[in-house]
């Protein structure tokens, strides 16, 4: 039996949670929100040509692996990242690292993990977890979105690590090798903020960033006429799921980012970040109101004021609110 002494802290999102827990294990104090912000996790894109179960993709956070990559790079931490073509080999190397007492992060699919609540068993391949031990045939897993440690048999962990489809993880695993003693938080925090603001304000095309939110707002208004009721309801549900589903912390990561801005106020010793955190919280609250109305319409419980028109207005105000926040932030980190 192998059991690494690893502090499991529950998080709202898998990648920022894994990043913060792994770094914490190696003596770097970092909360999930700080990892999320320093890793420039916040984002928005509405990509109607990418289909998930036949519905357009809306994303509220950055590309997979981006948070871990930017935090480790910014802090000067070195890590090994491995991919495999053979499942047996992938498990052997995992075992070796565990025997050496190293907790290992793994990219997996969600569908084959037995401890995943049945309601979340979809084929999504962007999940992250940390393997911290082994007992008999079972691996002991610190999956940051769950409150306690979980277990998974060798067979299913292998299946999950080699889930197929879009963004197949191909057995990807990673572990930290070299952590510097003194870490400069402020430069990474500033850089992370800059990346988020630039992406949200200056990305080309109509689909990404604040412009993407405006575009979505316009589309929502057109949906009922263009798609008919049945499809519009499905499209709406998809947006709410992407915004609120397990691992988003609710409100499409906006609250988590607001929590990060509060920490940034301390690290950069500037209370203006604290004030902007409030603004970001307001944006998150608007996103939540959008979800409430959307869900009522899906359920057929809409009152007279719960309309697509109203939802579209709310999304527009999210875009305007967020634009203000990013503009002010950009001035502060210049």
């Amino acid at each position: 039996m192998i059991s690494i002494d690893f502090e499991h802290r529950q998080a709202a999102h898998c990648e920022s949670g894994v990043t913060s827990n792994l770094l914490n294990h190696h003596g770097v104090q970092i909360s999930e929100a700080l990892a999320f912000g320093a890793g420039a996790g916040l984002f928005f894109a509405y990509l109607p040509f990418v289909r998930v179960n036949g519905l357009p993709l809306t994303t509220y956070r950055c590309e997979v692996g981006g948070i871990f990559k930017r935090v480790t790079k910014g802090f000067g931490i070195r890590f090994h990242w491995l991919k495999f073509s053979s499942g047996q080999k992938a498990m052997e190397v995992l075992d070796e690292k565990l025997e050496a007492g190293i907790p290992v992060g793994c990219r997996t699919g969600g569908y084959w993990l037995p401890y995943m609540p049945s309601a979340f068993r979809f084929h999504f391949n962007m999940h992250n977890l940390v393997v911290i031990g082994k007992e008999g045939d079972d691996y002991i897993i610190s999956d940051p979105v769950f409150p306690g440690l979980e277990r998974c048999s060798r067979k299913y962990l292998m299946k999950a690590r080699f889930a197929k489809g879009v963004m197949a993880p191909k057995g990807a695993m990673y572990y930290l090798t070299d952590v510097p003693k003194n870490i400069d938080y402020s430069s990474t925090v500033k850089k992370g903020i800059k990346i988020v603001c630039n992406r949200m304000l200056k990305s080309p095309g109509p689909l990404i960033g604040v412009r993407g939110i405006h575009y979505l707002s316009k589309k929502i208004r057109q949906w009922p006429k263009k798609l008919g009721r049945e499809k519009t309801v499905l499209y709406t549900g998809q947006i709410i799921r992407m915004q609120e589903e397990l691992g988003t912390g609710g409100a499409g990561f906006r609250f988590m980012y607001a929590a990060f801005l509060q920490e940034a106020a301390g690290i950069l010793d500037d209370s203006r970040f604290f004030d902007l955190s409030k603004e970001m919280t307001d944006a998150g609250d608007l996103w939540r109101r959008f979800a409430i109305i959307g869900a009522r319409i899906i359920k057929g419980r809409a009152s007279d004021s719960d309309t697509y028109e109203k939802m579209s207005e709310l999304v527009t105000s999210c875009a305007e609110k967020e634009r203000q926040v990013y503009r002010s932030l950009l001035k502060l980190v210049r």
Partner: protein, 144 residues
């Protein structure tokens, strides 16, 4: 979101585990708070499952009418499309498509059948027919 607004509407997660969300406390500071779920989220999630469910039901009917092979049923039961099933089976998409035809499926070699059966974690005999009671499928689907 204020801390007393953190929703506690169970629904999706039935076993009492809660998830983390970020909320503002009395002093305006962000803290972590556990949530048992949120009604709009539950509604959106069950909508997704209704879609899967109706697909499973309609495919089951097509299998019973002899229009599709049982493979088609297990494919949609596991939320797969032809592309994904082809990748899991290591069989080309074009051939998978043919195997959804009952006439071709019935002539398949045991070797091919067991490849499919392994993916769904059922026996070859089970793969050749579909269950009479669809409501029992929740358990059949969950890994042990």
């Amino acid at each position: 979101m204020k801390i007393d607004e953190v929703p506690q509407d169970p629904g999706i997660i039935k076993d009492g585990r809660s998830e983390i969300c970020y909320a503002v406390d009395k002093n305006g500071k962000y803290v972590l708070a556990g949530s048992k779920g949120w009604e709009p989220k539950n509604i959106a999630n069950s909508q997704a499952w209704d879609v899967i469910d109706s697909k499973v039901q309609s495919t089951a009917q097509q299998v019973r009418k002899g229009k599709k092979s049982p493979l088609a049923f297990y494919m949609v039961l596991h939320q797969m499309d032809m592309g994904l099933l082809a990748k899991y089976a290591g069989i080309s998409r074009w051939r998978v498509n043919r195997h959804l035809n009952p006439l071709i499926f019935n002539k398949l070699a045991p070797r091919i059948l067991s490849r499919y059966a392994d993916i769904f974690e059922i026996s070859v005999d089970q793969l050749k027919k579909i269950p009479d009671q669809l409501s029992t499928l929740e358990n059949a689907k969950a890994p042990k």
